[in-house]
Amino acid sequence: MMTVQNHVTAMVGNHAVAYAVKQAKPSVLAVFPITPQTTMLEKLAEYIEKGELKAELIKVEGEHSAMAAVYGAAVAGARVFTATSSQGLLYMTEMVYWVGGERVPIVNAVATRAIAEPWSIWDDHQDFFSKRDASWIMMMAENVQDAYDMTLQAFRISEDKRVLLPVMMGFDGFILTHTMERLMVLDDEIVDKFLPPREFSLIDFKDPVNVGPIAAPDDYMKIKYETMKAINGSKAVIEEISKDYEKITGRKQYGLVECYMCEDAEYVFTTSGAWTGDAREAVRRLRNQGKKVGLLKIRVIRPFPKERIKEVLKGVSGVVTFDREYSFGSGGVLATEVKASLYNSGIEVMSVIAGIGGKDVRPSHFQRVMEDVLNGHKFEERWLNE
């Protein structure tokens, strides 16, 4: 084992992400405050005012402009960062698609939160998953450490010449943004090596180009075909960067998915986000009772790791997906996509919808659902709303 140069501290999620951003040395940030992201913005403003981060922080008048401003800066060659949540993410939606279409490297941290109406400031994943078709790479953090690690990896992935796509990092509102946990942070020099300065600009006065003009139908579809290839190709890059990061931290990283106690499992939970930890706890307790259960954490939502899912779930009898968002008129998003990934495999997929709008979910909820399944109570879709 190589000597690892990092040190242990404790931070809340918002500050851990802000710290990673500081270490990534972006030159332009544009952020508009929204609960529960706000304390991250405040921390970033503090870093800049104290001179710890040399960057322009554009205090825009709304999220649409936040994404627009970082787009402009990214086009001009800046490493950029923005962050939002819920209504803010919806408000910037036009620009989310815009930057995805233009394939500009941008990192957007989304403190996941339910969407109005009715008003809710609490956590679910409806906002984050609503952006799944915008040609962004999308990752979900499990804990504060993950949010820190992912933020640094996100910049690398986004700017990789083989990828060139914006990256959205989701981390659960309040549950991670405001939770303080033990955190290993890397030394600045290590981060500098992992993340060299960005070299790429679309503004060159010797080669003036027209960025994002009209494309006729043939051109347009060709561009989208290339984007499809790039985002699918990014799976390998994400795994590669994850391995690289593992080397500098000495901590196990999981590129696209993580399987926890899957080996001989008969039934497996599938989750994404902070409640993966609660599911982990449930699996531990069930294993202690001799039950053959496991957990599949989907770390990367886009590109959806269908091949890996099929591979790691080979041999299990069934999967219980937990969705914290819902595609109304269809079903839980993970459930639908896991089902599609397992097409023709004979593995049964059961869908649980829970935690919507911050509704309480504890390890015991996971436990109870799994016990029901093991007792033969199968279902297609079940809402934990009692």
Partner: protein, 179 residues
């Protein structure tokens, strides 16, 4: 060690900060910690809760504490508006900030954190800052080292305020008594 703690007070008392200092202290001691504030549209004066986990092993769970080993009540008047002892285990410990000690649980500890705050002039906008003396008291009961608390407090507040609060933690640590 695997401890689950609930801290209860009112918005503006520094309940969340108290939880975070316990976590920082645990990490300084090489352990794991987690502080989850109750989240909502909190307002100054309204009841606030902070959940804390301290452990020798990584903490996976990201939920509130339902079965606490320790409950810290920062303001005795909370008993008039809620049951602060909800979710405290039968063999759990109550730590109470009060001038008039009453045995409200099998294991009840108390200290006069207001007096400590006044003594050290830890008063902001009319509020006596009772949170750090409470941290000291809870550290004593849970076995978190006073040195680690000292370091965490200095790191959090810095400067003169850090020194005063470190002293407050020490006094809380020393003055807490079982009824």
């Amino acid at each position: 060690m695997k401890l689950e703690i609930i801290l209860r007070g009112r918005g503006g008392m520094g309940v969340v900060t108290a939880g975070e200092i316990l976590v920082k202290a645990a990490v300084i001691q090489g352990k794991y910690g987690q502080s989850i504030p109750s989240y909502g549209g909190e307002r100054r004066g309204a009841p606030v809760t902070s959940y804390v986990r301290l452990s020798d092993e990584p903490i996976y769970i990201h939920r509130e504490v339902y079965d606490a080993d320790v409950v810290g009540v920062f303001d005795p008047s909370l008993f008039k508006v809620m049951n602060p002892l909800e979710n405290l285990r039968d063999d759990g410990v109550l730590v109470l900030n009060t001038k008039t000690p009453v045995k409200l649980w099998k294991k009840t500890f108390y200290l006069d954190a207001v007096e400590i705050a006044e003594k050290l002039n830890l008063i902001i906008a009319g509020w006596r800052l009772v949170n750090i003396p409470m941290v000291g008291a809870i550290a004593r009961i849970t076995g978190v080292s006073l040195d680690a608390i000292h370091e965490a407090v200095i790191e959090t507040f810095g400067g003169k305020l850090g020194e005063a609060n470190a002293e407050a933690a020490k006094l809380g640590y020393e003055m807490v008594r079982e009824i």
